[in-house]
């Protein structure tokens, strides 16, 4: 616990030059599996409030780091066999509430360009917060999620079913939808945004506007905005090119 060994008196204390310091940092980033130093855009002043994704990821971090002392056993169970967990916050939200007879839906688009190469997806989930519905809706609601595989100009887009959750109109809390099945396509065309479409129906099959059902979108408070979380497993430990 004391300070590290003092260099023997004969050893000159050498300060690193700026270029050596940069090389050293680059080397450490490579060990951390990073191509370079990330430059996150400083959140606008108003966005200082804690956001849903970092809050969720911080819980995950404490769960993972807390298990370090028990050397991994329960950690492995808790986080599957993930080496990397990524939460995607860049999202465009489209609301579609056409005429009364048309189905209502909410669509979310995610930028996947930051997905690291060489990592296999072990699980992916879409998280959206639900408040108790303020409208006199049937007690039971069915929330279904689809991937938008291809958009069509003159007709409905091609959709791929991902998950269905049943809940009550009065429920409150985070709704977790499993979107792992959509990840097969990500790895093929990484630079295409991922589109996820969400429908809400009553027990007797009527389409309900997700907002009326109490599902919060981008306009919700930052700590309750929807986001996506993906768990990756390193397919092979990245061999660092020797410098």
């Amino acid at each position: 616990g004391g300070p590290g060994p003092r260099p023997p008196p004969g050893c000159p204390q050498r300060r690193l030059g700026p270029r050596e310091r940069r090389d050293l940092q680059h080397e450490i980033l490579a060990v951390l599996g990073l191509p370079g130093r990330p430059r996150p855009r400083a959140p606008p002043a108003g966005a200082r409030l804690p956001a849903s994704a970092p809050l969720f990821m911080l819980d995950l971090y404490h769960a993972m780091a807390g298990d370090d002392d028990e050397d991994g056993g329960s950690r492995e169970r808790l986080l599957g066999r993930a080496d990397l967990v990524m939460s995607f916050v860049n999202m465009v939200e489209l609301d579609r509430a056409l005429g009364p007879q048309e189905p209502h839906w909410k669509e979310f688009r995610f930028d996947l360009t930051q997905i690291p190469a060489g990592e296999a997806v072990t699980a992916a989930e879409f998280r959206i917060y639900k408040l108790p519905s303020t409208h006199p809706l049937n007690r039971t609601l069915h929330v279904s999620m689809f991937e938008v595989v291809r958009e069509r100009a003159n007709r409905e887009s091609d959709l791929f079913f991902l998950d269905l959750q049943t809940l009550r109109a009065g429920d409150e809390g985070w709704l977790v939808l499993d979107v792992t099945a959509a990840s097969d396509r990500w790895l093929l065309n990484r630079n295409k945004d991922l589109g996820l479409r969400l429908y809400v129906e009553t027990e007797d099959g009527h389409s309900v506007d997700p907002g009326l059902a109490g599902l919060l979108g981008q306009r919700a408070p930052r700590s309750k905005q929807p986001f996506m979380v993906t768990f990756f497993r390193a397919s092979s430990s990245p061999i660092r090119a020797p410098r």
Partner: protein, 139 residues
């Protein structure tokens, strides 16, 4: 020729310290030339010192530790020596110029996790294996 006086070899004590007794203050934890025996030392990697706290959310740094110390025969049990290391340090005694001493190196490593923003402000949690020394020994 006058027969050189036989040098009295120092009496070798064969007793080894109790297996799990860490060297006490009166034990000779100094190997030859007053150096320390092989053991784990504190090493703190500070992301603050690296100037990275604008994108690393947690931790601010972590104790990575490092191994340093002498692997001198007899390698007692608190040095986690492999059989090969014991053999090598014995042969080193006989041929010090030909065979080096065994090395003090990590025998158990564990992972550490880092939570950070990427350039698109996505939040990433990455587990890095073999980043923390849990135990050292002679190899």
């Amino acid at each position: 020729a006058v027969r050189p006086l036989k040098r009295r070899l120092p009496k070798k004590t064969n007793e080894l310290p109790q297996p799990n007794r860490l060297p006490g203050i009166f034990d000779d934890i100094h190997g030859s030339h007053g150096r320390h025996v092989c053991r784990r030392h504190e090493l703190y990697v500070s992301f603050q010192d690296l100037g990275w706290l604008d994108w690393v959310i947690a931790p601010q740094g972590y104790s990575a530790y490092y191994c340093e110390g002498e692997c001198s025969f007899p390698l007692d049990s608190c040095m986690n020596a492999t059989n090969h290391a014991i053999l090598q340090s014995l042969v080193h005694l006989m041929k010090p110029d030909a065979v080096p001493k065994a090395c003090c190196a990590p025998t158990k490593l564990s992972a550490t996790s880092v939570l950070y923003y990427d350039s698109s402000n996505n939040v990433i949690l990455r587990k890095h294996r073999n980043m923390v020394v849990k135990a050292c020994g002679c190899h």
